[in-house]
């Protein structure tokens, strides 16, 4: 993993310039507009992230502060209408990523404006929109879209895991959009207007707001803390680690199906944290649960956050990082070297009406080359995780995110063309 020094935290907010440019090959049009004009890469939190590229934005591009994730049901069986909507979504997404209003008519008194307008003064705010196709789109009765034969084997149904309390009405979906930005209004506006464009073809199924990223995908970002107060994204795959991205995140050039090459599989989990219970546990219990100390985020037995995790270290004959510690069970070393790219956010949806406790936790987002060798075995391995006492998985989603688009393409063209 990347060794980093504490002093680099001072660079929070400046994007990993060179590395980003390397991963985004085709981004030109989106940059033709201010405030990113002339710059090949984002300069600050409010700058534009190029929409176009070999891969979709919003996977390895720097994690923003805000999320609105939306899942849709397709309510039409008309393939032409679905493809047209994807084209319309793409052109709207291009403009929004550049901080521009969508549509052609926003000042005509006798018509509803094309753009709903709430984000028009806010700039791009690093908005990324990442699109994915759900299992049910391929499994639809009578295959109206003609894509059943193109369903990736990797897009298998998510198995039930021990302790799951999944609520189907807020899980899965035919289509998903991950909207991330450094301003919550910008993230909301994108989903709102895309849902409006899709009306009659898609209907919102569920959505999840998120704040406070819980992991980084860029060495210039400081590892943030989750709502339990711990740093839990330290050993994430970062954009600079192109070898790991190719091995673990991107669907490879020889992987099947061909339309997914350059794409990635997205797994989402709404993980409710039983914060009232957590808050009553001793610091020692908390640290033994994660396997890290709370203050620095260092693995137990080490001193600094990015020190290597020594799973074998003992003291007085006992493992320093217990058998059931989260960091041990989730570590690549304990999972045949499996790594996934995490991009989760904290969430709160107010108060649980039954218990009057906080309805809050982690909206887990992971991207990987194949969930069958990524999230699924890791999650199976977490069955004995000490953390399970304090968390509850309430929603699940699996989506095939196709590769990025060029100046003229549309999201999903490799599947539908």
């Amino acid at each position: 993993m990347n060794a980093r020094s504490v002093s680099r935290r001072a660079f929070l907010g400046t994007a990993g310039a060179g590395a980003l440019a390397a991963t985004v090959a085709l981004g030109t049009d989106a940059l033709a507009h201010p405030p990113g004009a002339g710059a090949a890469v984002p300069k600050g939190l409010d700058a534009a992230v190029p929409f176009e590229g070999a891969h979709q934005a919003g996977i390895v591009t720097p994690v923003q502060d805000r999320l609105l994730f939306a899942s849709f049901d397709v309510v039409s069986d008309d393939r032409t209408a679905l493809v047209q909507m994807l084209k319309d979504w793409t052109s709207a997404a291009r403009r929004m990523a550049a901080g521009e209003m969508i549509g052609t008519d926003n000042d005509d008194l006798v018509a509803p404006p094309d753009d709903t307008g709430e984000a028009q003064d806010l700039g791009p705010q690093s908005l990324t929109l990442t699109f994915g196709f759900g299992t049910s789109l391929f499994d639809r009765a009578d295959d109206p879209f003609g894509i059943a034969a193109r369903k990736p084997d990797a897009l298998a149904p998510m198995p039930a895991f021990a302790r799951d309390e999944i609520r189907p009405e807020m899980s899965e979906g035919d289509l998903a959009i991950q909207s991330c930005a450094n301003d919550p209004t910008v993230a909301f506006h994108a989903i709102r207007d895309l849902a409006r464009i899709g009306r009659g073809v898609v209907a919102l199924r569920w959505s999840q707001q998120g704040f406070g990223r819980t992991s980084v995908t860029d060495t210039n970002q400081v590892t943030p803390r989750n709502l339990m107060g711990f740093k839990d994204g330290t050993n994430n795959i970062v954009v600079e680690d192109t070898g790991a991205l190719d091995d673990h995140v991107w669907v490879g050039p020889k992987d099947d199906p061909d339309w997914m090459r350059g794409g990635s599989y997205l797994v989402t989990r709404r993980i409710r944290m039983m914060l009232e219970i957590w808050d009553r546990s001793t610091l020692s219990d908390q640290e033994l649960t994660f396997g890290r100390n709370k203050g620095e985020g260092a693995p137990l037995g080490a001193h600094e956050e990015h020190d290597a995790v020594n799973l074998k270290a003992t003291k007085d004959g006992a493992l320093l990082i217990p058998e059931n510690a989260h960091i041990r069970l989730a570590a690549p070393a304990a999972n045949d070297g499996v790594r996934i790219l995490r991009r989760g956010f904290s969430f709160t949806d107010g108060i649980d009406p039954v218990t009057n406790q906080l309805d809050a936790g982690l909206f887990f987002i992971a991207y990987q080359r194949d969930p069958r060798t990524g999230f699924i075995p890791v999650q199976r391995h977490l069955a004995t995780d000490a953390l399970n006492e304090y968390i509850r998985h309430e929603s699940t989603g699996t989506f095939a995110c196709p590769p990025g688009v060029g100046a003229k393409g549309f999201v999903g063209e490799t599947l539908f063309d």
Binding site: E100, M101, D107, L109, A111
Partner: protein, 369 residues
Amino acid sequence: MFRTTGRALLGAALSGAVVVVGLADPATAKSKDVKVEISDDGCPAKLTIKAGPNTFKVTNSGSGDVSEFEILSGNRIIGEVENVAPGLNKAFSLTLKPGNYTTKCPGGSEHSTGKLVVRGSTDTKLSADGKAAVDQYRQYLEAQTAELVTTTKGFTDAVDAGNLDQAKALYAPSRVAYERIEPVAETFGDLDPKIDAREGDVPKNAWGGYHYIEQKLWVDGTTNGLSSYTKDLNDNVATLQNLVKDVDLQPAGIANGAVELLNEVSRSKITGEEERYSRTDLVDFEANVQGAEAAYDAVKPILQKKNPQLVADLDANFAAVYAALQPYKTGDTYVAYTALTDDDTKALSQVIDALAEPLSKVSKQVVGS
């Protein structure tokens, strides 16, 4: 449902609000000069001009701190001049639609931004297609209000006769014609609240009309003490019948009225807030959709020439709404709102949204016809 905000819907002229129709034709209209003086203070605080082609003649009376004048729509610059040195004047032309714009004079000490209000000229001349649309819809209004007068009389007769069961049976059907044309009734000041206010919409001592009687019939289980209310209701629907004969209609307004009827469905029928006691919300639901379809039918010939694809989409979407309602039909009425599950209302809500979104694009297509 009665709403307190009197937005301009169908009868723009009557409500006094401005729905601008008949935009100036840029090809034939003559460009007007607009003198703009920028200074070290910045832009003029506010400019008000007429829609259509305008030529902005910009002069600079300052020392040169400010030398640029821009016009923005939202955050887009749609016209500008730069390097207007003191003493110079520069000009640019722009065809503007009615609306609110922003001006910008970067560096201005007082007004680095200003307002630009573009007013539309109201042209009431209708094309042959436009006239046909207006005539067709007026006939519909007259037929519906005539039906309303008749059905209301039948309903109130049952109330006045003390026949509770019959009054309850006639309540929902008697309101159907009203629900089909409600946006028109809403343009006549306090007439809509007198006919259709729900409890809490108006002060308690002013509450009357359909929903007052509904509450008495279902909650109190009585027809007693309603004679002054049934008389007022008949008087008010008769007034409505007279008023619609002269209501000012425009094709764009008719199209907006269709959208407004679907908004009624979204706002109060799908949520079961309209018929709190009788639970006959789905009867109103269908009537709102029928009224929207009638308004849409009136402007359809115009739309067919301009955007046949939109016509095809809307026809399919109307059919989808009726198909979604079909399972809840029992004989010539509908199941009670309370029989619907959350999944049912969700599905109904989605087909209404799917219809209303493209329908909201019609008025723009037929404006000025």
